[in-house]
């Protein structure tokens, strides 16, 4: 298991397979319970977030779209992990701890 430190943006813990989203064309690949990984804030992420159990973001602070959307939706979110979109691949088993800003990647 590898762990990454980021910023705790929205509290809670979730563990699931991840989907890396680049743009609106990737909305369709998200399944219920997935953890989604995105590069930066974008209002459109609210649509896949409805299905997701949590979110990881490379860039984005407490008042980013993502931060606000996740906190309101009660879903954990960790941001500020450099290159996370390329480090973690689709289907990887990941746990996010939005209380302390940690992401655990299971091999």
């Amino acid at each position: 298991m590898i762990s990454y430190n980021g910023i705790a943006v929205s509290s809670g813990i979730a563990r699931s397979k991840v989907k890396v989203l680049n743009d609106v064309n990737d909305f369709g690949k998200v399944e219920v319970g997935d953890i989604i990984i995105v590069y930066k804030s974008f209002p459109g992420w609210v649509i896949p977030l409805m299905k997701a159990s949590g979110m990881i973001c490379e860039i984005g602070g407490a008042l980013s779209h993502i931060g606000i959307l996740c906190r309101e939706s009660g879903k954990p979110c960790v941001s500020g992990i450099s290159d996370v979109c390329s480090i973690i691949k689709d289907g990887t088993d990941v746990m996010i701890d939005g209380n302390i800003g940690k992401v655990y990647v299971y091999k």
């Binding site: 609106v24 930066k40 209002p43 649509i47 008042l63 309101e72 009660g74």
Partner: protein, 347 residues
Amino acid sequence: MSINNKQLLIEFSKAIAVPLYNTDAIKWPIRSSHVISVVNDIYAVEYLNQLRELVCNYNPQVWKQAIPSSLILWRMIHHIINGLEKANLSKQEIAEDCLLMVDIIRYIDNNDELYSHNHLITSTSEIEYLSCKYYRICENEYKIQLISLATLLWAYAESLYFQGREICCEYHGPYRFNGEIVVIRDFANFMPIDLWENGNYDTKIRSIRIVTFHKENVNLTIDAFNNVNITGENFVDFCTGGLLFINNKIASKEEIIVAMEEFSQKLECQLGLVNLMSSDELYRKYAYIFWYRKKSLADFLGQEWTPPSKVFDILSNVKIEPSAKSNYRTAEGIQYLERKYDYSIFI
């Protein structure tokens, strides 16, 4: 007046500093300050002239017709101050202008205080009515969908008006009643026909109000820029129930799903439209949105709301360099911003 002008201006600078410190360096589709910093002197001087005209020529009882919510001013205030600085006004003049804006905000909010941790605009009797009159949506599945609808509409507001989402949504509270926290989210202006021509905006929904009730364990604040901050316990888990109003009428659980489907489609459509825009088109749109954010004031004064042509001349001749740099991410960030926007020493 409960506090003097100096104290008011200190409170004012603190209220601005916190949300500015927390703001994101990268915003979608582009950070507004990158565009507006080249024309904010024109904007600020025009805005202040309009505010002075309002205050000098009209009775305070009608100010709310011109500025329906204090958010309209709050969310622009740092741009206005920066613009006045750029226009080379003296610090004393800017301090006076800040006091003018503070007075208008306090009058609109019916408050002597400048709240920076909540936004209280609904009377206690109305909160009591909302709490007691209606059967709440209490099933967990629908509560989650109700909150999801709110986040969806919030995102839709940003897709229509970018950082000018106050045109479309206003969150207020937290109100405390009968051992509960009440949060109200009001949404309107879903058809921005003055700004967008080609989107899918037709809807029978004119307004949506989402009311949620929470156990007091939730620590929720709403800052001066209407950003919601939730810390501690889970916002959804501690939601005890909710209400949905569509076009001012209480709506059923089933209508949550219908509204979600409609606005999901509209959001996707709008995002597609914005993503196709060139940088130049985005800059022009930003200028229109900036001026649109004070349209109600211009309309009230019988003036043209659109940007003057020189704004577009400047935008077409200036090279705008979007930067991902975070401005204030230092340990002293908030103190720096408080000092930057503190004009109390100039009065």
